[in-house]
Point group: C3
Chain length 189, copies 3
């Protein structure tokens, strides 16, 4: 701020102008819009990959950011009315999946291994008091996270708007980009 002595009746000096500009730039930086936006794509449709977009978006929203999730491809499963039946996890092809005992690939494809892995993962998260997918979706909606279903992949996979939970919006890649181009945090999960 300027003291009386720095402003004459007629105007300000160059030095004062530079100081004002620096102050305004810093103020603008503090309220920088892009730092307040997170745009996340959820493209995977398994139980394990449903957590990261929901956890990241709700955490962002809880800390005051504007967050949106764009559900596309297999990620449409996450906001499908039957998501609790649709979200499964498979140990097949993921040697990083923790299993009760080490097992070779040939065993992971046996009947029962998929359901076992799905059950095991749910138990692991519940046992550690991590919010369930249901709780995360409810939190996201309570916190104002924008949930957008990808219209194009809905058409490809034969879904209609009625297949999805209430409160979902519908849009295409252009809708995602309109948000994302204003955001520092942009993630493809």
């Amino acid at each position: 701020m300027l003291g009386e002595h720095e402003v004459t009746a007629a105007g300000v000096t160059e030095e004062v102008v530079r100081r004002i500009v620096a102050e305004e730039l810093e103020r603008a930086g503090r309220r920088e819009e892009a730092a307040r936006h997170a745009s996340i794509i959820a493209s995977k449709g398994t139980l394990d990959w449903a957590y990261p977009p929901l956890i990241l978006a709700t955490t962002a929203a809880a800390s005051g950011m504007d967050a949106s999730i764009f559900f596309t491809f297999y990620g449409l499963n996450i906001i499908h009315r039957d998501y609790e039946q649709k979200l499964k996890v498979s140990p097949v092809g993921n040697p990083a999946m923790p299993m009760p005992v080490p097992m070779p690939s040939i065993v992971t494809v046996l009947p029962g291994m998929g359901p076992m892995a799905t059950h095991m993962m749910k138990s692991m998260f519940e046992g550690k008091h991590v919010a369930s997918i249901r709780e995360l979706i409810e939190s996201a909606q309570d916190l104002g996270v924008k949930l957008i279903a990808c219209q194009m992949t809905m058409d490809v996979f034969g879904y209609t708007r009625d297949d999805f939970i209430d409160g979902v919006e519908f849009g295409g890649a252009a809708a995602f980009l309109a948000d994302a181009r204003k955001a520092h945090v942009t993630l493809f999960v």
Copy 2:
């Protein structure tokens, strides 16, 4: 803009300086460079994961953004001269893959299931009039999307420059980062 009464022959007041700065900042924000750039990494080499980087980059370019795709690891398949043979999709290990009938993992590894899933996915996209990979690549090039092949993974996988479609550039992680650090939209597909 300033009225006659605000400018003296000698200079402007602090109040006027602050107004000018606010105007210039808003103008700078409207033409904010980072909001006009999208840098996308394509790292997967299957048919399903070839769509998102191409759709996102062409949509960005069509809306006036500068877009680039950095093809690395298995993603090099997408710009390989033989991409139409190389891009396949596998239901194995992806319980979210829509299949004609529900099937356990043990069935997805049977001979014929991979080709069937690849054929089915192509039909689903064509049936909904979604552009083919060929059309998306051509659109990307028409719209000026920069296509960069990762030199390091090319070497690792034994590819030479002649293995790729015309118009591809070559560079490393540093080339990607030089673009991406100026972009709001940065995605790893």
Copy 3:
């Protein structure tokens, strides 16, 4: 800079103010903070997907950027003390994986195919003089890349702080977002 003739004893003109603002904005853009930050999530726990976050973060840091990697879900494998045993690669479910001979899915699940693919990938990278995971982790630490283990998924998977290599920090999604909201480069690997 202003010439003598542009500054009166009393102040500067509007034209001069606009020129000063433009200069300061350009200077601010050159030192734009967001262009100097890269925040990367490493969520996969296989050998192939351990390379991209480490290569991108070390390249960013080597070019003067502040880089951090947030290890979550299966990505915790990468900074586990036993990462050399834990990081494997599986051809199952990834038809883009280069194999010595084309092979159908039914063969990729046979015992021995996982170890063979892991061995083959290590040889391919070594043969091309690409840094090993050990060398990349050491480079990352030397270059000051911040390595953060996700506290929540550590709890879920039953890890304690002692399970990880020295120098790792611990935090949650909020810690990642606090970094990422200030960064142009944000990637989910």
